[in-house]
């Protein structure tokens, strides 16, 4: 029965922001529906300002939907108890600089009703998980960007939530730190935790997500399994190594002599997701 309850259920979400008195309200999210099943890693991709963060905030009850509904494990996002089983890492988080790593986790743990031995054990466990035991008693004011992001992740996990929401988890983090965070996400997936992340960095989404949604100007323009989305049914790709210009010329001639077939493009291979993304938004352009 638990299987039938989606970890995340966003139905026809619309969010409008008032800009000024007379002007038309800004529609940040336009009729978005997303359903994420337990255990999935879902990536929402889109450029800055496309409505990713607003969608996540609506899911967490930080903004109220203008229309539509959000729920987490069947519980309405506008209700406090929907946040029992969710951990959230906002974009570019600053935590309280005056607290040490351990104190930060303790604070969030207590907010979730943890305490005593149980909480202490959990704090140690999480610090080990995010590889920050060494910085346990250092104040967050002295943490690097990557460390902050990792303590943020640990904070999101403090009450062992079944769903973790990550907003741009690697923004502004160097490649090494970025890799550490990616490994952590994979570790979460192995533990069966549902992950909902959003990013404008396509490579990252591609590496960890089971399913992705593409959001642009507030609309969910495409959604599906990663392989399905990347595969373009009417096209084939041949990736060659050390092909001479002559060989390429021959292949092109062969294709052109075949009726119905055509060469779409030649050149160096690109990140497929990025290509997909660019195609999707160009189709959508008014």
């Amino acid at each position: 029965m638990a299987e039938s309850i989606a970890a995340v259920e966003i139905r026809n979400l619309v969010k409008e922001f008032k800009t000024s008195f007379r002007r038309k309200p800004l529609r940040a999210v336009d009729d978005v529906s997303i359903r994420i099943m337990p255990g999935e890693v879902y990536g929402l991709i889109g450029p800055n300002g496309s409505g990713k963060s607003t969608t996540m905030k609506a899911l967490l009850g930080l903004v109220a939907p203008s229309a539509g509904q959000c729920s987490i494990f069947g519980r309405d996002s506008m209700k406090v108890d929907s946040r029992d089983e969710v951990g959230f890492l906002p974009e570019n988080p600053y935590f309280y600089k005056h607290l040490s790593g351990a104190e930060t986790l303790r604070f969030y743990g207590k907010l979730c009703g943890l305490g005593g031995r149980e909480l202490e054990d959990r704090v140690t466990e999480l610090l080990t998980l995010v590889d920050l035991e060494g910085a346990r008693d250092r104040r967050l004011g002295g943490y690097s960007k990557g460390m902050l992001q990792r303590i943020g992740l640990a904070q999101a996990l403090v009450q062992e939530p079944r769903l973790v929401i990550l907003d741009e988890p690697t923004a502004g983090v160097d490649p090494l730190g970025s890799r550490q965070i990616r490994d952590l996400i994979l570790k979460l997936r192995d533990q069966g935790i549902t992950v909902f992340l959003c990013s404008h960095l396509l490579e990252q989404v591609q590496e960890v997500c089971d399913r992705v949604g593409i959001i642009f100007r507030g609309k969910l323009v495409r959604e599906g399994k990663l392989e399905d989305l990347i595969a373009i049914e009417d096209q084939s790709e041949i990736v060659l190594r050390d092909a001479s210009p002559e060989l390429l010329h021959q292949i092109r001639a062969l294709v052109e002599s075949t009726p119905g077939a055509s060469v779409v493009r030649t050149g160096k291979p690109r990140t497929t997701l990025e290509r997909l993304f660019l195609r999707e938004i160009s189709e959508d352009e008014p």
Binding site: I5, L62, D84, E91, F107
Partner: protein, 308 residues
Amino acid sequence: MSNVVHISPKGSHFMRIWVIAAHTFTQLVRMKVFYFLAVFAVIAIASNFFDLPQHEGPEAVGANVLRSIKSWSLGAMTLFSVVLSVVATALLLPKDAEDRTLYTILAKPVPRFDYLAGKLLGVLLLVFVSLALMDALMTGVLHVRTNMVVAQQVEMATAMGWPADAVASLRAETLASGPNASLQGAVFAVFLRASIMASLALLISTFSSSTLFTTVVSFLIYFIGHFQADARNIYLQAGEAGEGLFARVASLALSLVMPDFQLFNVIDAVIEGQALPLVSLAKLTLVGMYYAVFFTFASWFIFADKEF
């Protein structure tokens, strides 16, 4: 449903409010707010040397110093408590929102009321502890100094041949201007006023867009609040004084919306040696709590569906 609920958000409001309050307290302490206490210690000790060469007999010896210690100490407490209440409250909320730490807190199963109440309680806790420490320091200095002054006066009066009953009366009068229960009551009144200011600043900061705005408006209300009683009197006596309709409506609006801070001017009277009856203090406490609770709920009313 087979959903396992690990933690229930219900039933532990107090716990959560306390966690946020304790954290806010720590935060302010680590912002080095308590350094002010060192300044206060200097003030309390320096106020000991505020004696002028004056006329008159034994009754004037040192009486100035005792009043000076009280004036300086309670003045410093007033400034510290009001400024801290307003600035800390005005600062903490927008800071949390700007740094997005607010997201991480509200993304936990924390009702928004708990968050607000916790912040307010944290600020008040800090003000209370600071005032208690300052009070202890003031009482200590005053105690030592009062005994010195009494000894001086008795010696001088005896040398001048005052009859025993006059000496005893002088002694009693001087001791009364030393540390006493009314003085502690005045310090508590300082705290009450700070509580009103903090909850007021909380309310303003829930719809204000900047710390500066909150601070300025809070202090403006603080200032105007001292004249609320006058507006109320004008309204209540409008019939006799023959004020126009406009004056009546304006004074009524002012007295309904503005808090009455003039009530807390009893602090000045206590410094001047008046006794503060326990009943009056209890009534003042009721006033303070009435405001603080109303403002907190009003803040929550605004904050409940605020978007970030």
